[in-house]
């Protein structure tokens, strides 16, 4: 129990709140890399999910990728991305392989499957009668996708984004192993130096950041859930949330 007092002292020590190894900078590095990765992944995965759901093609592939994705350890993805980038880069640019670049690549790869699957399941869950009615009203395929299916799938797509974001924040912790920054630095350095207060403080900060991420995305998810005419929010259709309990973990 004494350790927790040490951890509290470490976290409240002003010396740990400034400089190149300070908490604010480490938090920012962690958030920055996570944001970049989730943004790239969303830009790729949401259109793919929309198209797979709308055209009903390659469905098998979309589900398989999610299932296989769960079996691949995120730790392995990160380390493999690192060695691949290291191998590909010319001798003069090897330093680029440490930290940011391979981490973003790995995080994007990890974030894509849950977003694709959830977007696709969200569109698939749209009542076929509603789609037919929209067609009957003269909506084109494109209009059906953008004005009907996409808004109705938004809550589930958002749930996928939430899963992806939490996974990304968790895995970004491991970036410190390949020379990256972020809060994982405290854990990796703490383990290496046997500095328990620093180690546990880093873990506590990572846990808090992950929970904040989860809550922020839960709020976003609520915000995109359509309201019914009575002003109440419709209960989000959540087959994916039940069906694919959070694809991958780090």
């Amino acid at each position: 129990m004494h350790t927790f007092v040490d951890v509290f002292n470490w976290l409240t020590d002003p010396a740990h709140w400034s400089g190149t190894d300070g908490i604010p900078l480490r938090v920012w590095q962690h958030v920055e890399i996570s944001l970049v990765a989730v943004a790239i992944a969303a830009a790729v995965a949401i259109p793919v999910g929309l198209l797979v759901g709308h055209t009903r093609r390659f469905e098998f592939l979309a589900v398989s990728i999610a299932n296989v994705g769960r079996a691949i350890p995120s730790f392995a993805v990160l380390v493999l991305a690192f060695v691949l980038v290291l191998d590909i880069l010319p001798q003069s640019h090897k330093s680029l392989a440490f930290g940011f670049t391979p981490t973003v690549i790995a995080l994007v790869l990890l974030a894509i499957p849950p977003i694709v699957t959830n977007t696709y399941v969200g569109i698939q869950a749209v009542d076929p009668d509603t789609v037919e009615a929209a067609r009957g009203m003269g909506m084109s395929g494109r209009e059906v996708l953008l004005r009907l299916e996409a808004p109705l799938a938004a809550p589930l797509a958002m749930a996928g984004l939430r899963t992806a974001a939490v996974t990304v924040v968790a895995t970004a912790t491991l970036a410190a192993l390949i020379g990256g920054g972020g809060l994982g630095r405290y854990i990796v350095d703490g383990l290496a130096r046997g500095d328990t207060p620093m180690l546990v403080s880093g873990a506590v900060l990572v846990a808090i950041l992950a929970i904040i991420t989860e809550l922020s995305f839960a709020l976003l998810e609520r915000a995109v859930t359509p309201r019914t005419r009575s002003g109440r929010r419709r209960r989000a259709p959540r087959p994916g949330a039940e069906a694919l309990p959070e694809a991958i973990r780090a």
Partner: protein, 237 residues
């Protein structure tokens, strides 16, 4: 950056390290089996409780969801001051992650048991306990095993992280490969972990087929909504 001049070929390396690889494989299997077994032992009674008392489902999934949100490395590390660098540090973390997955699937399975079947059993004089063990749990088995499959596959992936706190498993190969810039070891660690996950998934699927010969329903994890609707249709028709 200097690289090893003439590294052994991948097969030579594997042949030279057979003993170590086998040892890590046993560790990986042990850590996984123990976590899923304890997770199931905790989740089953909790799920039955949450199924019978609907109001408790939300708080239970809220709490297990919170545990699930904490990154594995962080949870392992936070446990170090309490349990030290023992196997329990890894196990408590691994078990925590199985709970959300298992409870969600178990409850979906229990809720999917058709009412008229339960009424028929009660009409035949089944007690609540008999109803649970002889009707509800057997009929929920496809969903229960589907949950165990997902939990097992994700636990196998998480065990690789346990290598960072010195608990072995295939993650050890990845970590050593990373430290020595030896790609063969990294790829081997990743492949063995994925292979183990796929084999475990397949074995559990087979177990489900053997235990529920009457069931040809798709596993609940693909589209539970649809599966539920189908069972409703069966009831209606």
């Amino acid at each position: 950056m200097t690289f090893i001049a003439a590294p052994p070929t991948a097969w030579e390396w594997i042949a030279d390290h057979r003993g170590e690889i086998l040892h890590l494989a046993i560790q990986h299997v042990q850590l996984t089996v123990l976590a899923v077994a304890i997770g199931t032992a905790i989740s089953l009674p909790l799920s039955v409780y949450a199924f019978r008392h609907r109001a408790t489902y939300a708080p239970i999934t809220w709490f297990t969801g919170l545990l699930y949100t904490i990154p594995s490395l962080a949870l392992f590390v936070i446990l170090i001051p309490i349990t030290g660098l023992t196997v329990w540090t890894a196990e408590i973390g691994l078990v925590s992650y199985t709970l959300l997955i298992l409870i969600r699937n178990f409850v979906v399975g229990l809720r999917g048991v058709p009412d008229d079947v339960k009424e028929a059993a009660q009409g035949m004089g089944f007690t609540k306990r008999q109803l649970l063990w002889r009707v509800e749990i057997p009929l929920a088995l496809p969903a229960i095993i589907a949950g165990i499959r997902i939990a097992t596959v994700s636990t196998i992936g998480l065990v690789t992280v346990a290598a960072l706190i010195g608990k072995g498993g295939f993650g050890q190969l990845i970590l050593e490969g990373l430290n020595q810039f030896y790609n063969t070891e990294i790829i081997l660690g990743a492949l063995l972990s994925v292979a183990f996950a796929l084999i475990a998934d397949l074995l559990l699927l087979l177990l489900q087929k053997v235990l529920t010969p009457w069931s040809r329903a798709r596993p609940a994890r693909v589209m539970p909504e649809r599966a539920l609707r189908r069972s409703e249709e069966l009831v209606a028709g």
